[in-house]
């Protein structure tokens, strides 16, 4: 019997796993943004000494895992599983990084929602007693995503005003069955919601309804009130998606205005950095959570957040075939104390 299940889509952990260490690494552009002081490493060159963008992205993941381990004085052999994902075809950034790390590997694809997906599954495995320590890691890279999803870098075209900027970066969290928090207490797994958007330069609008659905379900399932949270943070809805989410949640009777943040709007200064609607990519919520938000949590500046990473589950093939963009959002409830 699913004794830990709560409501329709939520799991409540009986031994909430602790996030004992995190690491974040970002590219040069992210390193000039408003959150620059919260990242562990800012690259000067986003090729990171490698010959291809894909190898560079893989190295970002590997580095962030090693960094998170070092911070907690752990070695690779103490980790039971790694949950990793990225945006590339067949998630090669994760596959090649896991090849080098030699930890039992679960590869995940949830597009830009993968950080929350990996935290959800990692927490379930730890709470279930199948592992003591797991690593959750995701990455994205502007240049590798651009060539896969959009256009060659040197093509002289103009970006649409609703377009988002893929974050170059990776973030890793280590979850442990023992620790002093912050703890993952609840997980709400999202359903796919497809509002029929076909414009790949308007991902925020494609993903916002999924985030709304997951957030509402989370509150219904857990009985939490908005005031139980300091922040409700979406992954990469950016400027347009943020507006839509606030409108739609208000219609459902939830006013998130005071508590709401979006990683895609935190990581860049859209005006100064010319990133149009804001940041996106697996690396967006990964670096903002593991860098900025985790810092606020361990320093007790905030006590409880709902991290709702959002993903657009399309591919260049589905786009060319005229399919709409299915959105998904996974929510992870993180709290500094569980008295």
């Amino acid at each position: 019997m699913a004794i830990k299940k709560m409501g329709n889509q939520t799991v409540k952990f009986s031994n909430p796993p602790s996030i004992i260490s995190t690491a974040s690494i970002v590219g040069p552009k992210e390193g000039e943004g408003p959150l620059k002081d919260y990242f562990d490493i800012v690259l000067e060159d986003d090729l990171y000494g490698e010959s291809t963008w894909e190898k560079s992205e893989s190295k970002l993941q590997k580095k962030s895992v090693n960094n998170a381990l070092n911070k907690a004085s752990l070695s690779l052999s103490e980790i039971d599983y790694i949950f990793g994902g990225d945006l590339l075809n067949q998630i090669i950034a994760s596959g090649y990084s896991a090849r080098d790390l030699q930890i039992p590997f679960f590869g995940l694809y949830g597009a830009c929602s993968t950080m929350a997906e990996s935290l959800s599954l990692g927490a379930m495995i730890v709470d279930g007693g199948y592992a003591d320590k797991v690593v959750c890691v995701t990455s994205s890279h502007f240049s590798s995503a651009e060539r896969q999803y959009r256009f060659p870098l040197e093509l002289g075209n103009q970006r649409s005003l609703s377009a988002q900027w893929t974050v170059t970066g990776a973030g890793a969290s280590i979850l442990s069955s023992n620790g002093n928090g912050p703890y993952i207490t609840h997980v709400t797994t999202g359903k796919i919601i497809d509002p029929g958007i076909k414009d790949v330069f308007n991902m925020g609008a494609a993903m916002a309804p999924a985030a709304v659905d997951t957030i509402i379900t989370h509150f219904n399932d857990t009985g939490f009130a908005i005031d139980d949270y300091d922040y409700i943070v979406t992954g990469d809805l950016a400027a347009i998606g943020k507006d839509i989410l606030l409108d739609m949640t208000k219609e459902e009777g939830l006013d998130l205005t005071e508590k709401y943040k979006d990683c895609g709007l935190e990581i860049f200064d859209n005006e100064k950095q010319d990133t149009h609607a804001g940041g996106s990519g697996c690396g967006c919520s990964a670096t903002v959570f593991n860098g900025y938000l985790y810092n606020l949590l361990i320093n007790r500046k905030i006590n409880r957040i709902l991290l709702v990473a959002t993903g657009a589950l399309h591919s260049p093939t589905s786009t060319q075939q005229g399919e709409s963009i299915p959105g998904i959002a996974h929510a992870v409830s993180i709290c500094t104390n569980i008295s």
């Binding site: 040069p28 090729l47 502007f142 240049s143 651009e146 256009f151 060659p152 870098l153 093509l155 002289g156």
Partner: protein, 118 residues
């Protein structure tokens, strides 16, 4: 004077492209394809020739000018060699530019690497 004509007509053709980009979801690939095809059609129905004689490079440098060369080449070859010219005309008239683009493209790709955007 011919410089001013080239500037204004060339600029106007580019504005048409810009408005198409801004008001539709067309990518630059769609713009290039439709401008070349439009150049062939406009030449065929006799509209583009007068623009070329008025504006010179202002009409031949934008991509409808590529279509203009194709159409002119097709007609010339049909006059000279009949049905065979149907197939050889366009490609012959534009061989220089296309070969140039292929050769220079290959060389540049060998010499240079793409840089990330900032």
């Amino acid at each position: 004077m011919d410089y001013l004509k080239a500037f204004i007509v060339g600029g106007l053709i580019c504005i048409i492209g810009q408005i198409l980009i801004d008001s539709t979801k067309l990518t630059s690939a769609h713009i290039l394809v439709s401008f070349v095809t439009a150049g062939v059609i406009l030449t065929a129905i006799g509209i583009y020739e007068p623009i070329v004689s008025f504006a010179g490079a202002g009409a031949t440098v934008p991509l409808p000018g590529f279509g203009y060369s194709l159409a002119k080449g097709a007609v010339k070859a049909v006059k000279e060699s009949g049905l065979i010219g149907v197939f050889t005309g366009g490609i012959t008239a534009t061989a220089g530019g296309v070969s140039g683009a292929i050769v220079f493209g290959y060389i540049m790709a060998i010499i240079f690497d793409p840089k990330t955007k900032s």
